[in-house]
Structures are given as structure tokens and as C-alpha cells.
């Protein structure tokens, strides 16, 4: 019928296609098919996490594919997270007065 002939519009990209675009955009290649499959799984997990953040956000932020989308949370934390808990936050300001202004 007439309705059936209508163009349904662009179909949503499949996960593998989105991952292929990610690899191109961020210049990623993997050492073996097994590693590729593992990174694809991590990528899917990260997209699900992005969706959760999107639902939680009370503002206007957008979450999704980023340069870190093929990293596990552990890999990401190792590089970017500050693991140290401050033992002591400085309470006293240290002042170094120069004898002549503008000189160290």
C-alpha cells in the first residue's frame, strides 16, 4: 500500500558500525580479532553507562562516544584518577616575600 512505500528514513547505526566510526575518528587499531572483540564489549558497556548518565543528568549535558570509549573503568581510573586521598590539606598559607617586586 501507499504507507508501505514510504521511506522509513535512515536506520539507526548498529553497534559494530558505531564502533568502526569510533576507531576511524580516534585512530584505534587492535592487535588481534580477540582484542577487537574485547574492546567492542567494553565499548558497548561504556555506551550503556553513557545512557545511564544521560538519564541521571538534570542539566543539558550529552553523553556518548568519547576518546575513552574503548577503555574499562579500571584502565581509565589508572591513568586519569587521582588515587591519593589527601592526608593533610594545607591550612596555613606559605608566604614568600621577595625583596624586590618582580624578582623571584
Amino acid at each position: 500500500g501507499f504507507l508501505g512505500a514510504q521511506d522509513p528514513g535512515p536506520r539507526p547505526l548498529e553497534l559494530k558500525e558505531v564502533f568502526a566510526l569510533f576507531q576511524i575518528q580516534y585512530n584505534r587499531s587492535y592487535s588481534s580479532p580477540a582484542e577487537h572483540a574485547r574492546r567492542l564489549d567494553i565499548f558497548a558497556h561504556n555506551l550503556a553507562q553513557a545512557q545511564r548518565l544521560q538519564e541521571e543528568d538534570l542539566g543539558t549535558a550529552e553523553f556518548g562516544v568519547t576518546p575513552f570509549s574503548d577503555l574499562t573503568d579500571e584502565e581509565f581510573s589508572q591513568v586519569y584518577k587521582q588515587p591519593k586521598v589527601p592526608g593533610e590539606v594545607p591550612r596555613m598559607v606559605r608566604k614568600v616575600r621577595s625583596l624586590k617586586q618582580g624578582k623571584p
Binding site: 549535558a61 553523553f63 568519547t66 576518546p67 591513568v79 586519569y80 589527601p86 598559607v93 606559605r94
Partner: protein, 238 residues
């Protein structure tokens, strides 16, 4: 406090840095802060050495994390910092490589921690220049653009683990509010990250202002490059 402030328009903010495989956001935020303060005070663009902060820091391996005040103490102990060009970033640490060079391009008088109050932070930012803050980085791995607003339940303000430079603030119309027929203004902070320019909004991101989103008010810290009693008045570009 002015309605908007964006220090990027004053051309005192250095290009976006990239930590690569080194957890040194604390050193990069401190370097960004010193460069911005130096630019405001002396109208001079400098790029200071993050590697000097890492190699010469008092806390050992700076690629395994640190705090902004450690960086400022290193700057005070070393009487300033060499240039990025003379002492380039290598994304690893070697304490034996520490060369406290004579040729310093910037130095600081002291550093201060502001009150954990977003209104006071905005006032200081507008009248003194960019400052460093330490936040909970939970939403940043997946962040692409826009203003992130969280509750303490969705982004714990006590678990802060990433230092960045606060460079401005403003307000935007809330899209979600408009959809519901109640357009409301969303105040936000503009923050400079150190994960390269391909991340976020050309290396920057925005967080909601006024709700201590992700603990932004917990550790507001800044270096001072001139004595408070000799300070020149400055104004943040709107």
C-alpha cells in the same frame, strides 16, 4: 558578581594540555593557573614546565596522582618554574632528572584556598582570574558537551579525584525545562580539562553552578603572583 565571565576571551588561557598516560591533572591544573595569573598580572603569555613539577615534586611519583597544593609548594621551593620549551613534558617521572633551572619564566608569591562557597568562588574568579578546583570525575569519561547537573546521590561531592582549571561562568536556557513548558535559566561553570582538545567542548566542559555539583566547591585553590596589597584591579570579559 557579574552575570557572565569567560577568561578565555582575555587570551590568557594556554592551549589545552594532554596528560596522556600520566595521572598528573594536579600539576597541569596548577600550571594552567600560574600561566593565567601571570598573563593577567604581566600581560605576558608564558608556558611553564609541568615536567619540572613532576620530576622535582616532594611526593615522589607525580604520575600516580597528587594535589594542586603540592605543585604550588614545589614552585615556591624551586623559586619558580622553567618554560615548557626548556623542560618539555614527557608523561613520565624521573626524580633524577630534576633540574632546578636558573632560567625561570614564572614564579608565585604564595597560594590560597578559598571558602567552599560558590558565590565567593565566582566573585574571586571574576575579580582575580582563573582558579583550580578538584571534582568528582564520574561523568567526564562519557561527557561530550552541555551542562552536567547532578545530585549528591548521582555524583558524590565528597569523592573528589580530578583537578582542573575554572575559567568562567554563565547561564543557559534549560532545554529540559523548555520542553516541559517552563523555561528556566541554568547557571554553569566553565572548566578547562587536560585530556586534549578532542575531548568535551574543545577540551573544556561545563558543570551546573550553585549546587556543588561533583564537589566543585571542595578545594578551590589558586596561586598568587603578586602581593595582595599591590594588586591591580582586573575584570573578567563577559
Amino acid at each position: 558578581v557579574p552575570p557572565t565571565c569567560d577568561w578565555r576571551k582575555a587570551r590568557i588561557i594556554s592551549p589545552i594540555r594532554n596528560q596522556k598516560n600520566c595521572s598528573c591533572c594536579w600539576a597541569m591544573a596548577a600550571a594552567d593557573n600560574i600561566e593565567a595569573q601571570w598573563g593577567i598580572r604581566y600581560n605576558q603569555s608564558v608556558k611553564v614546565s609541568v615536567q619540572e613539577l613532576l620530576d622535582c615534586g616532594r611526593c615522589g611519583d607525580g604520575c600516580k596522582g597528587g594535589w594542586v597544593w603540592d605543585a604550588f609548594i614545589t614552585v615556591l621551593n624551586n623559586s619558580g618554574l622553567a618554560s615548557e620549551k626548556d623542560y618539555p613534558y614527557q608523561s613520565n617521572v624521573d626524580p633524577q632528572r630534576c633540574r632546578v633551572k636558573r632560567n625561570k619564566v614564572a614564579w608565585i608569591q604564595d597560594f590560597i584556598m578559598l571558602q567552599d562557597n560558590e558565590q565567593i568562588i565566582a566573585q574571586y574568579l571574576a575579580s582575580h582570574g582563573p582558579i583550580t578546583v578538584t571534582i568528582n570525575m564520574k561523568p567526564l569519561k562519557q561527557y561530550r558537551k552541555g551542562v552536567f547537573e547532578a545530585t549528591p546521590a548521582t555524583c558524590d561531592p565528597w569523592l573528589v579525584d580530578h583537578s582542573v582549571l575554572l575559567v568562567g561562568f554563565g547561564s543557559s536556557k534549560s532545554v529540559k525545562g523548555m520542553r516541559a513548558g517552563t523555561a528556566s535559566s541554568k547557571p554553569y561553570w566553565i572548566l578547562k580539562n587536560s585530556w586534549g582538545a578532542k575531548w568535551g567542548e574543545k577540551g573544556y566542559f561545563r558543570l551546573h553552578r550553585g549546587s556543588n555539583t561533583c564537589g566543585i566547591a571542595k578545594y578551590p585553590l589558586t596561586a598568587r603572583v603578586e602581593l595582595p596589597d599591590q594588586r591591580h584591579p582586573v575584570h573578567c570579559p563577559p
